[in-house]
């Protein structure tokens, strides 16, 4: 990339914002454009399923920078204008308003879109990804509905926790026999399920949604076991698909995300990707992965920008994925990459406590750490995972 060429960052959420900040911090002085599909300035998503839903926060608190906070970055901010195509041979990006943007370097940070249930849309059925989604769910919660949540992933369970905090009746429906087994392993997935049941959530696992009930407005769910759940509000949290449709004719290698190498470089020159949309090879785990967590996005935006500016000589991007979730009085923190059947070794407390630390291992190597209300220990073990420490130690 020529240092005077324009860099375009597509996607104005956490990854895109951190990318433009990193570009300026790392000395890129050329023209810079940040393109966003939503009309909002970049904002933080984790509070949307927590403080914004409970009303503990006014939702204006989620914005990363105020309007004038963008002046220092000296960039062109094009919001409310999604990218619709990439012409890699002409090095041009096509936007929804018909504009074409020439680039010398491109950062793809278009994130993901929530999966939805098949069938016609009914009012009262929501997803929770964007600020507008969160505002709509918050408004619906003020009517004190009975709530049904489809999917016991982190979003679904955080919404469940927020609803219980508001004293609402909540049913969660999950097709897997144990929630979160893929990310926390079966035993700890069961522990999280227990947390929700103790808090009064009707958590039903191993059962699918057969149909939404209601004519124009939802009245409940019909489940695959023949049972019915009455609800005036349904929140669907069944995962995210990476936003890559706009790249389908670009020639860029796509496979459940933008495929990248160990340094976040995509398959075309001077194109990198970061955040939920990027699927890259993590040499620490020897695995090609796509990670949808806040800390990961911050780290990957920096790594992708380093690769774009400094070329293939930069260090590979080999992070230990970290995430947290707040549910009731538990701060859950996890670092690593585990499988459902990894071995467990409890190092602080017991799994039945509100405070514990458990390590995960496979083939003699430490693969993960989970803490409930144990922040002092989780980061220490995250470092050990990065150092490829043995297990059980």
């Amino acid at each position: 990339m020529n240092p005077d060429d324009r860099v375009v960052v597509v996607g104005a959420s956490l990854a895109g914002l951190r990318a433009v900040e990193a570009l300026r911090r790392d000395g890129f002085a050329g023209p810079l454009t940040l393109v966003g599909a939503e009309s909002h300035r970049p904002y933080d998503r984790p509070p949307l399923s927590k403080q914004v839903l409970t009303g503990d926060w006014d939702d204006s608190r989620v914005f990363f920078r105020q309007k004038d906070g963008y002046d220092a970055l000296d960039l062109e901010l094009r919001l409310g204008c999604p990218a619709v195509a990439l012409d890699a041979s002409a090095r041009e990006l096509h936007l929804a308003d018909g504009a074409r943007l020439a680039y010398g370097g491109l950062v793809i940070a278009t994130g993901g879109a929530p999966r939805t249930l098949p069938g016609p849309s009914l009012s009262g059925v929501h997803v929770l990804r964007s600020l507008d989604d969160a505002r709509a769910v918050r408004q619906a919660l003020l009517q004190r509905p009975r709530v049904a949540i489809v999917g016991a992933g982190f979003i679904g369970l955080e919404v469940a926790a927020a609803c219980r905090k508001l004293g609402l009746s909540v049913t969660v429906v999950e097709t897997l026999p144990v929630p979160l087994a893929g990310v926390l392993g079966r035993r700890l997935g069961e522990r999280v399920a227990e947390l929700h049941r103790e808090a009064g959530v009707d958590l039903r696992c191993g059962v699918a949604v057969a149909a939404l009930r209601g004519e124009s407005r939802v009245t409940g769910l019909a489940l695959s076991d023949g049972s019915e759940v009455a609800a005036e509000l349904v929140v669907v949290g069944i995962g995210v698909r990476p936003c890559t449709e706009w790249l389908e004719s670009s020639g860029l290698a796509l496979d459940n995300g933008v495929l990248c190498d160990e340094r976040c470089a995509a398959s075309l020159p001077d194109v990198v990707a970061a955040g939920d949309v990027a699927r890259w090879h993590n040499p620490l785990f020897g695995e090609t992965m796509r990670v949808e967590h806040w800390t990961h996005t911050v780290e990957q935006a920096n790594a992708a920008v380093a690769r774009l500016l400094r070329g293939p000589g930069v260090e590979p991007f080999a992070p230990v994925p970290y995430f947290w979730s707040d549910q009731y009085d538990v701060k859950l923190q996890f670092a690593g990459r585990v499988r459902a059947d990894d071995d467990l070794h409890v190092v602080v407390g017991q799994l039945s406590d509100r405070k514990f630390v458990v390590l995960y291992g496979r083939a003699g190597r430490l693969t993960g750490v989970l803490g409930f209300n144990a922040p002092a220990q989780v980061m220490q073990f995250r470092r050990k995972i990065a150092e490829r420490a043995p297990f059980p130690g």
């Binding site: 951190r18 900040e21 984790p46 806040w294 800390t295 911050v298 780290e299 970290y322 947290w324 707040d326 701060k331 923190q333 209300n373 144990a374 922040p375 002092a376 989780v378 980061m379 995250r382 470092r383």
Partner: protein
């Protein structure tokens, strides 16, 4: 340069303790402690990394 932590925002994620272990520590009580509020210039890079990586934007630098 002075480290300022907004303890109303801090949720003890502990990422700062990884970015700048010389400056931040989480103790067994679960709370964050600043080890040196006025760090030497040599630690600026690590401190700035801690600021960037804090999930709740609780850390700032006062010049």
């Amino acid at each position: 340069m002075k480290i300022v932590v907004d303890f109303d925002l801090c949720q003890s994620h502990g990422l700062c303790t990884q970015a700048a272990p010389e400056l931040f520590e989480i103790r067994d009580d679960g709370f964050l402690y600043i080890l040196n509020e006025t760090p030497p210039e040599a630690l600026r890079g690590k401190l700035e990394k801690a600021v960037r990586e804090c999930p709740t934007a609780a850390i700032s630098i006062e010049e």
